[in-house]
Symmetry: C2
Subunit: 340 residues, 2 copies
């Protein structure tokens, strides 16, 4: 089969890879309908995170089940499924508490390479959720977002306790940040402030429910959010970047007793204990337990209550993956879909 | 009047200080019944925190109201009162959300010097809570703990979401840590693990409701807690020290999705963003909003349901404050009461 492989920073190739098969009796193999490039794929692409190339890439996927292991019960060949970027058994104590991305048996899908024609999914019963039926073509981009960026933005908003009566600010205007705006509104937040200086992304943020746009960053961004919230700061702030600046911007924009939900994979972030102490915020985040939210998100998409697929502003065949990475790296695209 | 003054690290004197009077119409002046030395007083005493001496010391206090400003409504001369270490108006939006120690009008009581015969308390209506009647002598130590160490341990346990069905570990066996053990049990925690290697403190922890004692520290302490919790970590961990080692011990001892409540004033702590991200814990803490808990804590003490005053293992007259500091610095005393 064909699949995306990173050989070194900036070096993305579509190559022949071995076809995956059932390894454990809890596995499924799916034929992908679509995959995409994630903001987190850019860390190794930019050389900020080490690549042990040649590395298969991709961890976001939707598709049709082709084959299942002997112990798989909840999904069957022919079903259209959405999975999370971490495989999880969904039965351990951590999963049952809603933290499937820290499942005691978790496996990172990224190492299996979902930017490909076919994918082995471990712990299929715990990881995959089937749609009610075969989706129409136009629903596929939205369903694909549920696999990571929508689920991650949703977790960020939940971790920030976005809800009725609360003012939510979102730091980061990538796909996750934009979908955190959508999530915050779905969760009932009254006011949602998107922090963005890019006009097309501001438009998308507004379409997803942002009530306000703030273009300032860093200390100026913090000052602007405080000014808009009676000097106190927002109740809830979602951090969707992962840098020192964005974390401090998020913490500084949150009122005492408020909640920061951080979902940008932290790179080079060090938090000063005393500043954090006196900020009085709640801090929660990490790899999103997307599996927890999949049934709800699939339902919202299936019934066309939300349209998160609008974050894809580039749509390419798998063979042109290198172009997709380049466009996202240069911020010419918010998020690139790869048609398989 | 007489009051404790720190001139430099290690240099504690009891001197004549000017008698406090009403400055603002919202002030009260109280005659102290007792004060005490706080673990946080040891930071400047040890030279870890700068002292701009001569500095009046102390921020824990109970006593009888002597005089009130013209706008004070809820406390009157002759009433016995307990106050928090931060004065707060208890009416602003932050106070109403339960974060009185970040009140928009807060004043740090430490700068006013509660280790003294008399004390001016700003924002008296918002800061002070009167007891039902004049307390008997034996209740005074317990009521005094409500002013800080009990309220702080309580906040730590609340921030860590101690409650029914949860296993709580407490890092730190100072007065705050020991009272976090008491709080965790009062809040319904099933299992409370005190981390302590000091036999007298272990005994007190058991008396306050600890079900288990762990003597290991650092990575070994983390390994021990994980071993005791099916490899997962505790649901709730209270951090009551404030060093890098204790913070990492607390975070490492918490399961994914669990809660760290940190109340040790952080000194030299820097948290690695990526480690925090993948720990998947909730982190919350800071200066305890003691005022929020005062009515409940006074009630528990008044009805002799709890006996937090047992943390005082040294009882000295105010004039011997220097001895009290020395004994706590050398860890010969858990907490020293100063009789006024």
């Amino acid at each position: 089969m064909r699949g995306v492989v990173m050989h070194a920073p900036g070096d993305i190739r579509v190559e022949r890879r071995e076809d995956p098969g059932i390894v454990a009796p809890t596995d499924a193999v799916i034929r992908l309908s679509a995959s995409c490039v994630c903001g987190s794929d850019l860390w190794p692409y930019r050389g900020i995170e080490a690549v042990e190339g040649p590395a298969p890439m991709g961890h976001e996927y939707v598709g049709v089940v082709e084959e299942v292991g002997s112990e798989v019960r909840t999904v069957a060949p022919g079903r259209f499924v959405v999975g999370s970027f971490f495989a999880s058994d969904n039965t351990c104590e951590i999963c049952r508490a809603g933290y499937q991305s820290s499942c005691v048996r978790r496996e990172l899908m990224g190492t299996l390479g979902a930017q490909a024609e076919r994918l082995r999914v471990p712990l299929a019963d715990g990881t995959l959720v089937a749609t009610p039926d075969m989706p129409s073509e136009d629903l596929i981009p939205s369903l694909l977002t549920a696999s990571d960026v929508l689920g991650t933005g949703w977790f960020g908003a939940v971790a920030a306790q976005a809800g009725p009566g609360r003012t939510v600010a979102v730091v980061g205007d990538g796909a996750v940040g934009l979908l955190a705006v959508l999530a915050a509104r779905q969760l009932g937040a009254e006011r949602v402030i998107a922090m963005s200086r890019h006009e097309p992304r501001q438009r998308l943020a507004r379409a997803f429910g942002a009530t306000d746009i703030v273009t300032e960053r860093g200390d100026e961004g913090v000052a602007r959010i405080r000014e808009m919230t009676g000097g106190l700061g927002a109740h809830s702030v979602v951090e969707a970047v992962g840098t020192q600046e964005s974390m401090l911007q998020a913490i500084g924009s949150t009122r005492p007793g408020g909640h920061v939900g951080y979902v940008g994979v932290a790179h080079g972030v060090a938090l000063d204990g005393q500043e954090l102490f006196f900020s009085h915020v709640h801090l929660h985040g990490g790899p999103a337990p997307v599996r927890q939210y999949l049934p709800r998100l699939i339902d919202l998409i299936w019934n066309r209550r939300i349209d998160p697929g609008r974050v894809f502003d580039l749509d390419l065949p798998l063979d042109r993956a290198a172009e997709a990475y380049r466009a996202m790296d240069e911020r010419r695209a918010v998020k690139a879909l790869l048609r398989v």
